[in-house]
Amino acid sequence: MNKFRIEDLSVRYLDNNESLRKINMEIEENAITVLFGPANGGKSTFLRTLNRLNDLADVKEMSGKVIFHEDNILEKTTDVIELRRRIGMVFSRPVPLPLSIYENVAYGLIMEGEHDKKKLDNAVENALRKAVLWDELYDRLQDSAYAISGGQQQRLCLARVLALEPEVIMLDEPTSALDPVATAKIEELLNQLKATYTIILAPHNIQQAARMADYAAFFLMGELIEFSSGKEMFLNPRDRRTQEYVSGRYG
């Protein structure tokens, strides 16, 4: 089953460059799809298009289709708020909101209008457990989210997304600011989570891409050069440009 079907997606920012050009791909459910490629390839742009977060950026033009549950979410009529609840996102830098740990995790639910203290408590605990943070933080929930380590902050950001029980989790270079130990924890977590979620990951290096990919998409200057299973991509790339990049002779 696929979660997204992307057809001829093109995006152009105010600078007039086509940051994405006619992308066609499908994203499988309950698997990790990795987007990789050199800088400015359009990976972040692609991710932000899927949850319409690019509405906040200087987008000039957007065309094509992104089919999610049979609807083209690029339509004006899409309920973007509902969409973003179903498609969570973790960013390259951990960005805790300037609130307590508890409020960070409960944020999405509170915004949704959930005020039942019991339900919130439960959701916060569940989310923190899934992010393997509960044992570390259960007695500090009212502390500022800035009082914990960078690795913990990033897992908190993941927990914050999990609390909304989304269908899809997108992660844009989630470990670029973390040390190897914290990175390993996140990677382990993602491997557990893919049983229940659709995961789209833009890793910050090719090693992580190779480690994590069930499916892999190679983006180069706004184009999708190659899309296949992870194994094929990294052992047996078809396109010459992919070969060069994967073998480290590129960018």
Partner: protein
């Protein structure tokens, strides 16, 4: 009311508030014109721009008032400029951090002192001083007003000039220092020139402050509507446009010629300040953008 509607209402209110400043500027202009333009019908233009202001006898020449304002403002800015820019240079380039931390609030204190308080001190301190120092019949002179105006303009000049100096990238200074240029030469040869549009803006806004100031000048300039034609006019009583409005508006009948002319002076002041502020913002037009791009 549903949440969506609530959101719409709030957004609507915020949007209206956002446009309110345009509404108010327009309203101000409309009411000044409404009350002041009839002056052109009541007083012939040639008379309006003549040299005698003596409303009781029907003389409504606003030239001495305009020149009075210009002269006092000019002298004030000539005083404020060196003090203001020097202080800004000191604060931004020379002073150690803790000195800066102490001095900046002091400048802010000056900015906060009401002009009527400065006027009061002017009467009790500066007026006698000017009289004895220059051996004049009266200390209520243009110069006295200019000194007070300089005090009023200095905080504006200092803070804007200092901002401008602070925005000069450190790499400029380091590049100059690396070439073996001394810090002193760097300040005057590199940093200050790099900040010159900012300093120019500071001066223009300082002029704007001085031009529009009312109470302090009214209290110490003697309020004699004479043409400041000679060099030493600054050591004699004179009168500004603002002081004229403030001191006479209370006594005129609504709608009378005198009333209309006072509003007409208001129009002149409005246009002058408009010109200065538009010019200053044009000079300093820096595009403001969000400091970071969307997270990627």
């Amino acid at each position: 009311m549903s949440k969506q509607q609530g959101n719409l209402v709030i957004t609507g209110i915020i949007k209206i508030a956002g446009y309110s400043s345009i509404v108010f500027v327009t309203l101000i202009l409309i009411f000044l014109l409404r009350e002041g333009l009839p002056a052109l019908g009541s007083v012939p233009i040639s008379q309006l721009f003549s040299t005698i202001w003596y409303p009781i006898q029907g003389y409504f020449g606003i030239l001495p008032l305009i020149l009075g304002t210009l002269l006092v403002t000019l002298v004030a800015i000539l005083i404020a400029l060196p003090f203001g820019v020097c202080t800004a240079v000191y604060l931004s380039e020379i002073a150690p951090k803790w000195v800066k931390a102490v001095l900046k609030p002091v400048i802010e204190i000056l900015a906060g002192i009401p002009s009527v308080v400065l006027g009061f001190i002017g009467i009790l301190v500066f007026v006698p001083f000017i009289r004895t120092f220059f051996n004049l019949p009266t200390g209520l002179t243009g110069l006295t007003g200019a000194i007070l105006l300089a005090l009023i303009a200095i905080p504006t000049v200092v803070s804007i000039a200092e901002d401008a100096l602070n925005t000069v990238p450190d790499s400029y200074r380091q590049a100059a220092l690396a070439l073996g240029v001394t810090r002193w030469q760097t300040i005057w040869g590199v940093t200050l020139p790099a900040a010159k549009t900012g300093v120019l803006t500071a001066v223009m806004l300082g002029v704007g402050r001085a031009l529009g100031e009312t109470m302090a000048v009214m209290m110490v300039t003697g309020n004699a509507p004479v043409m400041p034609t000679r060099l030493n006019s600054i050591l004699m009583p004179l009168r500004t446009m603002t002081a004229t409005i403030a001191s006479e508006m209370g006594e005129v009948a609504t709608g009378s010629t005198h009333y209309q002319v006072l509003f007409f002076i208001g129009i002149v002041l409005f246009l002058l300040s408009l010109a200065i502020n538009v010019a200053a913002s044009w000079v300093s037009m820096r595009q403001r953008q969000r400091s970071e791009r969307i997270l990627s």
